[in-house]
């Protein structure tokens, strides 16, 4: 069978790194090809080269057997390559049709857009590939899954035959992911070729025909998916054996809760109710996981507990002490530390050095400063120690945080917050955009904190993470707690339904459903 894409010996230098080191990628026509690797392994570099965003320093690219040099993404689009980025590039106030046709609208004449033709062609494509949408609704009213469909339609409208999907499932619920997989299979049946970038091994096994693995810019694996397994792929990604499940001891005795929340109500940035009478508690030595599709009140919940958002009603207690009107600083001082979901905005100051980022929350305390003047030797000593202990890969503790990869940035945040020695550790999306090796490490650290008797509140949209770490799981939907379930017995399907706000009546009804 012919190759749709052949990238041979691709090498790309960036200042100080070899992002791709003579990498080969061979994608057969009509297959689903998974491209996997840790963050910084060079997946994006390779795909950006294929999409014409820059040219490789060495190597050749062949599309459908023809050698090409692509100067820009326009060249790539001309040659039938379409890319769906991880972050959607859609205009919220435009309708779906307008977004799809943007920039290449059919015209009546030089000056006017042919709206009817526009609508017709979008409906045609959406029917042909089974991508159901409501063409005239606006993007801002659509769910994330729909946004993704629109992005796919955009590439199809531009007559793409080779689709690159960059981590498409990272924003989806399990059900939406199933939907997406159906769409992808449909596309392939209709003769399209799909390159699927991911770091979720289960998805590789489920959807792909062939898998290419990259590690540190080098090709480490190229196999038909049927001839490999999750463990082997993980080993090719990381370069050593990886523990895919987390080992942990069972929870200890009943103790007084560290965090108590009663009837908590608060609003989101638009002033709409984001948390509707939430009540729960977290005990020492327990990891409480909060599952839910992003944007269902989890962010607001954490911001409210940490004092970054106003409480409308309800009570928050730490160690039986009410902290409703405390400032973020005093809340930290009562023994809460917080790994925020947005490490770039909240978790780090990218312009500051690694040292500064490590000590910021205790910069005004001894030994880092006294009488308002820093002791830079102590700071350096402490930072070197944490850099070692948390395996933050950098040449110098005085490098800027922005020079690090996502995983190493996150390790700075994790190191700082865990070293605060809190009673309650709040970890929000602690491993988002982090490579497998670092994920394993961060999980280990969170479990360690729990085993030391700290209470942990874990918020994550990754079900695997919630299920493997949590002692108890709260499922949130639209600002309310749908259900609280013990961690051990949760299964993915049930969680998925709960996340969508559907409560299976009893276990029996579920079994009946299965029997059918």
């Amino acid at each position: 069978m012919a190759y749709a894409v052949e990238m041979l010996g691709i090498t790309k230098y960036f200042p100080g790194v070899v992002a791709n080191d003579s990498v080969d990628l061979k994608v057969k026509e009509g297959e689903i090809h998974a491209l996997v690797g840790e963050n910084g392994a060079g997946k994006s570099t390779l795909m950006n080269a294929l999409y014409g965003l820059f040219q490789p320093d060495e190597g050749t690219i062949k599309i459908n057997g023809e050698k090409v040099v692509m100067q820009s993404s326009n060249d790539a689009i001309q040659r039938g390559i379409g890319m769906v980025h991880q972050k959607f590039k859609l205009i919220p106030s435009f309708t779906i049709v307008e977004n799809i046709c943007l920039g290449s609208e059919p015209r009546k004449n030089k000056y006017f857009i042919d709206k009817k033709e526009e609508y017709k062609s979008v409906v045609e494509i959406s029917d042909k590939y089974g991508l159901k949408i409501d063409p005239s609704s606006k993007i801002r009213d659509c769910a994330v899954g729909i946004g993704q469909r629109v992005e796919i339609l955009k590439t199809l409208y531009r007559k793409a035959n080779i689709l690159i999907l960059d981590e498409p499932t990272s924003v989806l619920t399990p059900q939406e992911t199933d939907e997406l997989f159906k769409v992808i299979r449909n596309l392939v049946n209709k003769g399209k070729t799909v390159i699927f970038i991911t770091h979720k091994l289960r998805e590789v096994m489920e959807i792909s025909d062939t898998v290419t693995v990259l590690r540190k810019g080098k090709l480490t694996g190229f196999k038909p998916t049927s001839e490999t397994n999750e463990n082997e792929i993980a080993r090719m990604m990381v370069g050593r054996d990886v523990l895919l499940r987390v080992d942990k001891k069972a929870i200890e005795s009943e103790q007084k809760p560290i965090l108590e929340i009663e009837d908590l109500v608060s609003t989101d940035n638009r002033g709409l109710v984001a948390l509707n009478q939430i009540s729960f508690e977290v005990k020492p030595g327990e990891i409480l996981g909060i599952a839910g599709v992003q944007g269902n009140g989890q962010s607001e919940l954490i911001e409210t507990i940490t004092g970054l958002r106003k409480i409308e009603r309800g009570i928050i207690k730490i160690k039986s002490k009410k902290i409703n009107r405390f400032s973020p600083k005093s809340i930290r001082e009562t023994g809460i530390s917080h790994i925020p979901e947005d490490r770039v905005e909240r978790g780090l100051n990218l312009d500051a050095t690694i040292e500064e980022n490590l000590i910021v929350t205790s910069h005004d305390k001894k030994p880092f400063s006294s009488m308002g003047i820093f002791d830079f030797n102590k700071i350096e000593e402490y930072s070197e120690q944490l850099i070692n202990e948390y395996d933050i890969r950098t040449s110098n503790s005085k490098n800027k945080a922005e020079s690090l990869s996502g995983g190493n940035m996150q390790k700075i945040v994790v190191a700082r917050e865990i070293e605060e020695d809190p009673d309650l550790l709040i970890a929000a999306q602690p491993t988002r955009g982090v490579d497998i090796g670092s994920i394993e490490f961060i999980h280990k650290k969170i479990i360690e904190a729990r085993d030391q008797g700290k209470a942990v509140l874990l918020v994550s949209t990754e079900l695997d993470e919630i299920m493997s770490l949590s002692d108890r799981i709260i499922v949130m939907c639209e600002g309310e707690i749908v259900k609280i379930i013990p961690g051990g017995i949760a299964d993915e399907e049930e969680l998925g339904l709960l996340m969508a706000g559907i409560v299976p009546d009893t276990l029996q009804s579920k079994m009946r459903r299965e029997a059918k």
């Binding site: 230098y13 960036f14 200042p15 100080g16 790194v17 070899v18 940490t306 970054l308 400032s327 973020p328 600083k329 930290r332 001082e333 917080h338 925020p340 905005e345 909240r346 978790g347 780090l348 100051n349 990218l350 312009d351 500051a352 500064e356 910021v360 929350t361 910069h363 005004d364 400063s369 308002g372 003047i373 820093f374």
Partner: protein
């Protein structure tokens, strides 16, 4: 030593040098069109600025208020606030120092001078508190309010010297401050006072605060990453509020030192532009206290040089302002140099890559 030189980031220096060169080039167009040889004029300017005791003293006199005002701009800017109101706060400080200087009689200098300066500091800080409260309590844009408050300060001080504080019907000005309130002069032949020493000390203090103290660290964190600061337990509002107060206090001090050191009385035509030029000089100094110190000295040099040129030729003294504005313009547009010099940049990158690759291997 070689490593030390390699580690210096030359880019800012190259940019400042190129900006200076370009400004001088553009300035020479004006001179050629007026029929002068630019090289002669620039030589004249240089002599007028830095050669001879009188010229040097004159440059130092001009630099004194600018060092203060650029520090005032810097501290607010560091917290992410634009204090365009330095000018107005300086006026309030000057008039307060004048009042303390001519109405408190019989104090020894050792008390009278610090007390008058304290009045200036408080007046400046209080005047900066208005936009600070409006911004941090009611979220009113500080750029608009400080511009408005500048006009109010001009008109208010003008009213004071015309009516309540007017010395005589002859001219709109306050009485002279008592001898005991005047800052000692460094020489008999020029107006430069110990104010320049206070100014340099202040620049060094600012450098220390920015570099070594927790407060300096907080102002930077708040300015660079506000939500990160809030998350880490540093209150952006409180820090920026203090930043604005200090900014106003230093602006007021600038006015006080200028009045007690140079003019001895507040006249209706008190020099304007010290605050605005402070903004430009903060830029020219690349946002650091020591950078601003040198930029202020450099600019006041050009200023006195341009004065000399004005006396000898028919080129107006505004030449110095033109050159300053051009330089700041080029520095602000530094990206331009990358565009002018793409080959150089490419070459540098290649070298970095190779070095980096070898290190990795």
């Amino acid at each position: 030593m070689k490593e030390f030189i390699n580690n210096i980031n030359w880019r800012p220096f190259i940019i400042i040098f190129l900006s200076l060169l370009l400004s001088l080039l553009i300035g020479s167009i004006f001179m050629i069109s007026s029929g002068y040889n630019p090289l002669n004029v620039y030589l004249m300017m240089f002599q007028g600025a830095f050669i001879g005791k009188i010229n040097i003293m004159n440059s130092l006199k001009n630099a004194t208020p600018l060092i203060f005002t650029s520090m005032a701009v810097l501290i607010a800017f560091r917290t992410g606030t634009f204090n365009i109101g330095v000018e107005g706060q300086l006026f309030m400080g000057a008039i307060a120092a004048a009042w303390a200087g001519f109405s408190l009689e019989g104090l020894p200098s050792i008390i009278h001078i610090p007390l008058s300066l304290l009045f200036a500091i408080i007046a400046g800080a209080l005047y900066a508190m208005i936009p600070a409260i409006l911004k941090f309590k009611f979220n009113v844009n500080e750029i608009i309010t400080t511009i408005m408050l500048n006009s109010i300060a001009f008109l208010f001080t003008s009213y004071l010297v015309n009516y309540p504080l007017r010395e005589s019907p002859m001219a709109p000005q306050t009485p002279k401050v008592f001898e005991s309130a005047r800052l000692p002069r460094l020489t008999d032949s020029s107006q430069v006072s110990v104010g320049i020493i206070i100014a340099v000390i202040f620049a060094v203090i600012f450098w220390f605060v920015f570099k070594k103290t927790t407060f300096g660290f907080r102002t930077r964190v708040v300015g660079e990453a506000s939500s990160f600061a809030e998350f880490s337990g540093i209150s952006p509002v409180r820090t920026a509020f203090y930043g604005m107060l200090i900014s106003g206090a230093v602006a007021g001090l600038a006015g006080g030192v200028e009045l007690l050191g140079v003019h001895y009385r507040f006249v209706e035509l008190f020099p304007t532009g010290l605050g605005f030029n402070g903004i430009l000089i903060a830029w020219l100094g690349k946002g650091t206290p020591l950078g601003a110190l040198f930029a202020a000295l450099f600019y006041s040099g050009i200023q006195s040089g341009a004065m000399t040129v004005d006396w000898i030729t028919s080129i107006p003294r505004q030449l110095s302002d033109t050159l300053l504005v051009l330089m700041v313009f080029f520095i602000a547009a530094e990206g331009m140099f990358d565009w002018v010099w793409p080959l150089k940049k490419k070459f540098l990158n290649k070298k970095d890559q190779k070095a980096g690759v070898e290190k990795n291997a």
